[in-house]
C-alpha cells in the first residue's frame, strides 16, 4: 500500500509539473514533430523510392523510442541534478521509503505519463506520413514492459552518476546521441548489440509494428535474451545507484547547492 501511495504521489507530481510547465511541454512536443517532419521529408525527397515506406516506418518506431528513452533516462539525470541544487534531494533521502524506491517511483511515473504522450505522437506521425503500423497491443505490451525495465536500469545508473558528479550536464547531452544509437541501429547490423540495454526489446517491437510478427513467431532465445536483458540491466542499475548513494552519503554530496 505504501508503495502504491508513493507511486501515486510521484505520478501526480509529474503530471502537475508537466501542466505547470505547459509552454515547455508544448515546445518539446512541437520540436519532436518538426524533427519528425524533417526526417520524413528527407526520406520522401532524397531517399530511395523503393524502400521509402519501410524507411518511414523504421523512422517512426525508432524516433518514438528515442523520444521515450530521452524522456525517461535523460530526464531522471536532469531531475536529480535539479533536486540536488534545490535541496529537495536531501528531503527525499530522509524518507523512510528510501531514495531508490522514490527514484523507481519517479521512473515509473515519468514513463507512464510520457508513454501517453508517445502514443499520441505515434498516431500523429502515422497520420502525417500515411504509414499505419501494426499496433498489436497484446504482443507489444509484454515486450515493452521488459524493455522499460531495462531502460529503468540505465535510468538508475544515470541518476546515481548525477548524484555524485556535479558537472554531469555535458555528459547528459552526449547521452542523447548514445541513446539514439541504441534505438536506431538495427540488430541485423551486429547480433552482439542485442546484449546492450533495451536494444533487443526495441528490435522485437519493430518486428511487431513493421513486420506484423506475433508472440508465436518469436524464438525461445528471443524471450530469454529479452528477460535476461531486463533483469541484468535493472539489477546493475540498482546496484550502481545504491553504491552511488552510499558514496554521496559518505562524501556529503546529496546537496549540490
Amino acid at each position: 500500500m505504501k508503495w502504491l501511495n508513493l507511486l501515486k504521489a510521484n505520478t501526480r507530481k509529474e503530471y502537475l509539473e508537466l501542466k505547470r510547465y505547459l509552454p515547455n511541454t508544448i515546445a518539446m512536443l512541437f520540436t519532436f514533430y518538426i524533427v519528425f517532419l524533417g526526417l520524413f521529408g528527407t526520406i520522401q525527397f532524397i531517399g530511395d523510392p523503393s524502400t521509402q515506406d519501410v524507411n518511414t516506418q523504421y523512422v517512426i518506431v525508432n524516433y518514438i523510442f528515442w523520444f521515450l528513452t530521452i524522456t525517461v533516462i535523460n530526464s531522471i539525470g536532469y531531475e536529480v541534478i535539479n533536486e540536488g541544487m534545490r535541496g529537495t534531494l536531501e528531503q527525499l533521502s530522509m524518507s523512510p521509503m528510501g531514495i531508490s524506491r522514490i527514484m523507481a517511483a519517479r521512473l515509473i511515473s515519468t514513463t507512464f505519463i510520457n508513454l501517453i504522450i508517445v502514443i499520441v505522437l505515434l498516431y500523429i506521425s502515422m497520420l502525417t506520413s500515411g504509414q499505419w503500423l501494426n499496433i498489436d497491443v497484446i504482443t507489444i505490451a509484454p515486450i515493452l514492459v521488459l524493455t522499460l525495465i531495462s531502460m529503468f536500469g540505465v535510468g538508475f545508473i544515470i541518476a546515481g552518476i548525477s548524484i555524485i558528479l556535479k558537472q554531469v550536464q555535458a555528459f547528459l547531452q552526449i547521452l542523447q546521441f548514445i541513446l539514439m544509437g541504441l534505438t536506431f541501429v538495427p540488430l541485423s547490423l551486429s547480433p552482439v548489440i542485442a546484449y546492450l540495454p533495451f536494444v533487443k526489446g526495441i528490435d522485437l517491437v519493430r518486428e511487431v509494428m513493421i513486420d506484423g510478427l506475433t508472440w508465436s513467431q518469436f524464438t525461445m532465445g528471443d524471450f530469454m535474451l529479452l528477460g535476461f536483458n531486463a533483469i541484468f540491466y535493472f539489477a546493475l542499475g540498482l546496484g550502481v545507484f545504491v553504491y552511488c548513494e552510499r558514496v554521496a552519503m559518505s562524501k556529503g554530496l546529496l546537496a549540490h547547492y
Binding site: 500500500m1 505504501k2 508503495w3 501511495n5 508513493l6 501515486k8 504521489a9 510521484n10 501526480r12 507530481k13 502537475l16 509539473e17 505547470r20 510547465y21 534545490r86 535541496g87 529537495t88 536531501e90 528531503q91 527525499l92 533521502s93 530522509m94 524518507s95 523512510p96 521509503m97 528510501g98 522514490i102 552510499r246 552519503m249 559518505s250 562524501k251 556529503g252 546529496l254 546537496a255 547547492y257
Partner: protein, 327 residues
Amino acid sequence: MDKIIEVNQLKKSYKKRRSKEYIHAVNDISFTVNRGEILGLLGPNGAGKTTTIKMICGLLIADSGTITVNGINIREKRLGALNHISAVLEGNRNLYWRLTVKENLEYFAGNRGLSRKDVRERIEDLLVKFRLKDKESELVNRLSRGMQQKLAIAVAMLAESDVILLDEPTLGLDVETGYEVRELLKEIVRDYKRTIIISSHDMDVVQDLCERTVIINKGKVVTDDKVENLLKLFDVRAYTLNLGGLLSDEQQQLLLQKFPQHEYTPDTYESILQINLAKSEEIYDLFDVLKLETTPVESIDRSIVNFEQIFMKIVKGDTADEMAQSS
C-alpha cells in the same frame, strides 16, 4: 529519563579538494537527547552543527561512532530510524516551487508512503495552525520567504515523527518574520510535545525555546548543559559605580583587599569604579568602604548578560570568572 537520541563518539572528516589533508568536521562528539526535550545545537560557522544534524538525519555516514534513534542504530537500520525523524534543512530549500502549498504537503506525505486520504485532516490542521490556509492553492515560488519557511516546518510536522530537526529555522528572515517563526516554534513546542533539535545562530530562539544546549566548536562538544544552568553559571554580578569625587588611600587599600579584581578610574568630579561581586551580599562590604569617607554615589549600574554573550564566551573558551572580569 528516556533517551530518544544517543550520539556516541561521532567522527566525520572531509578530504580537502586537491589536497591530501582532511578537515575534521566532527571530532568525537557525544550527547543524548531525552524524549520530549527541546535541544539547541549551537556553534559558530564551521563548528560541525550541520554535519552532526545531517548524520542524525541519515544524510551523511559517519566515519566512526554510533547514532541511535529510538534505540535503532541509524547505520544498521537507516530506513527504520528515519521513521522517527523529520527535518527542515536550511529553510526554503526543501520545497517544490512549482507545486502549491497543499500539493507540497501531499507530495511529501506520499513520499513517506501515506495516502492523501490518510493525511487530509492533518494537512487541514497544519494549514490552519501555520496560518497558511488562505495560501493553500498558491505556488510556493510566489510565497514570501517566511511563508516558505513555515511550510517547510509544516512538511516536517506532517510525518508525525518523534524527532524534528530544525537547521537554522530563522536564518535569512527579516525581524518580523523571524519573530513570527519563533512564535510558531513556541506553539509547536507547547501543542505538539515532540522532541526537537534546533541548530541556530539566533540566540533568542535558543533562549526562548530550548531547555538544554549542546555547544559545538571545532568539531567538539564544549558545553552540554541546561540553558537555565548556563545563565546561572554566567550570572555576572558586575557593577559600575559613578562616584561624585575621589576615593581616599584607605578606601583604595580596603578595596584592593576585599575586591582584588576591581577597576578604579579616579576623577575629581566623577570617578568610576567597576567591581565584580562573587556573592550578592558583598555589596554591603562595598558600601562599608564607601561609607568610610561618605563618598557620594551618583549611580549604580549592573551589567546583565544574555545568552548570546554566554555563547560567545563559551566558544572562545572563557570561564565564568573570566567572563565576569570582562563584563
